[in-house]
Symmetry: C2
Amino acid sequence: MDALLAVDAGGTKCEALLVGPDGALLGWGLCRAEDPTSGTSWGGKGRSKESTLSALRRALGEHRPASLTVSGLGRWDVPELAQPYTPGEVHAVPVAEWDAPLALAGVDWGVVVLSGTGAFVHGAAPDGERLHLDSLGPLLGDYGSGSMIGWMALRAVARHHWSPRHETALTEAVGAVLGIDVHEKGLGRLVDFAHKPHDRAVVAQLARYVDEAARAGDAVAGRILAEAAAAQAEVVRDVVDRLALAEVAFPLVAAGSVATRSALYWAHLCAAVAGFAPRAEPVVPAGPQVLGTALRALGRIGLEHWRERLRAEVLAASPRDAD
Amino acid sequence: MDALLAVDAGGTKCEALLVGPDGALLGWGLCRAEDPTSGTSWGGKGRSKESTLSALRRALGEHRPASLTVSGLGRWDVPELAQPYTPGEVHAVPVAEWDAPLALAGVDWGVVVLSGTGAFVHGAAPDGERLHLDSLGPLLGDYGSGSMIGWMALRAVARHHWSPRHETALTEAVGAVLGIDVHEKGLGRLVDFAHKPHDRAVVAQLARYVDEAARAGDAVAGRILAEAAAAQAEVVRDVVDRLALAEVAFPLVAAGSVATRSALYWAHLCAAVAGFAPRAEPVVPAGPQVLGTALRALGRIGLEHWRERLRAEVLAASPRDAD
């Protein structure tokens, strides 16, 4: 292997790391939803071809490795997209979206709670049994996801004016983000917005404003986070029941921007999980999800001894406020 | 006036009554979503031009009145659609969707709780003040509506297999209605269904199966009805608060297929309302909504003395299981 390209393509952003054969961090690339070079796709902006290409190019920089190992799921055509950037062969080492968080947490099994643009709960039992629930999309499931929280925010804003008990700071924030003045006859525009198709990132991005408002004491925003966390805790419960983990000490690993960045969301979720799995051990791993992908890929191709170097370099570079 | 044509165009069906100048019931026409002559529209099948025309033609039958008075809202072009069926003039007497239930209940003021394909709460205070809340559509509101209940049913079906505690008879019913086998690898087809645009009637029609399942003791269906009713009771609360009706004895009038036909839904809603408006007097008026439209229109054009005749004739004809 001349270089490893780890890719994390999510609903809202695409992130890529370029790693040398000795675990050195060679490059890092991020393309967020707000980036003018980002594209749009059914699964969300981060999974578009344009976003992936932007992240890939930025991670490669001037590097043109003689051969490239590509890892990560989310976009199955990344090896093909990478081909023009290397004179040699491109190999694929698939790393599932649920394995990267386990690698990032430094564990081999446990329950992964992903809440990003979408949401799922993935259980990996000590005996090797696996169970994946949700990933149903924003209309049928994605319990606890940024999309769910975003839609709850839109509904809260829509009834802001019905009664003083529904007033919320979200109205200002959502109005500013979406460019809709819902104070003066703007409700019709919000209804129009709701009925048009949007990239998943557009509604999911509202989750961070819900978290901000909740932290500032907004009661409506606080209830949205609590309700979303309770909904995802129910999914955790299904996984815990079916994998017989209720009495077991297991790592409960946070993944995705909502679970790892909203301390309020995670606190609500952990409190609910403690009710049916008292020995669950919550972990919010340091570092971006794409690092987990790279760590797992290094293990797969026999370079596990370089994992700690890569982890140290990425955490030291403290890449920035990725989401 | 030679004849009055009252029209009730809802999300799922369009219904029309033809009334003589002496209050006699001359004709009745219904076009349901399942009717092959029904059309489709943004607001639901009942509001399509095709459905309206079918109901109109069926109500007219062989009658070709020399002049026609058309009443009802929901489709603003009904007078124009009726023009080819009368040699004379067509007059319009608008009757709002919230006034028909009051007329049907035989009261001049009160709180109308409509839950059909869509949903709203309309308050008419004794001093003439009015407040209309919701009608926001299935994504932003329509709290308690058939659409809301239908989407909750789809979500319940989507997680049926996650755990024994989510098992529900709705899976069988929804699968049969939508033609989707969700037992064997059918979940992907349910996800596909959820992400395609549908006429509002398609999802809203599931509400009646939720009611059936709840009556048969299905716990999941029971919780859906209770949750939807609680959500609409919150809207009633906003109206009661803002019109200062909390201590007043007022009629709480059911309208729409869910509120008038699901006794469970209505019981949950009334119990919740009793908590903040103990003097509310629940009324589920007999007869179809379109009768309310005709009654109100007769009053508006000075023929109020024929209202009781029309009411008696329609109730005696007991037109059938309209929804």
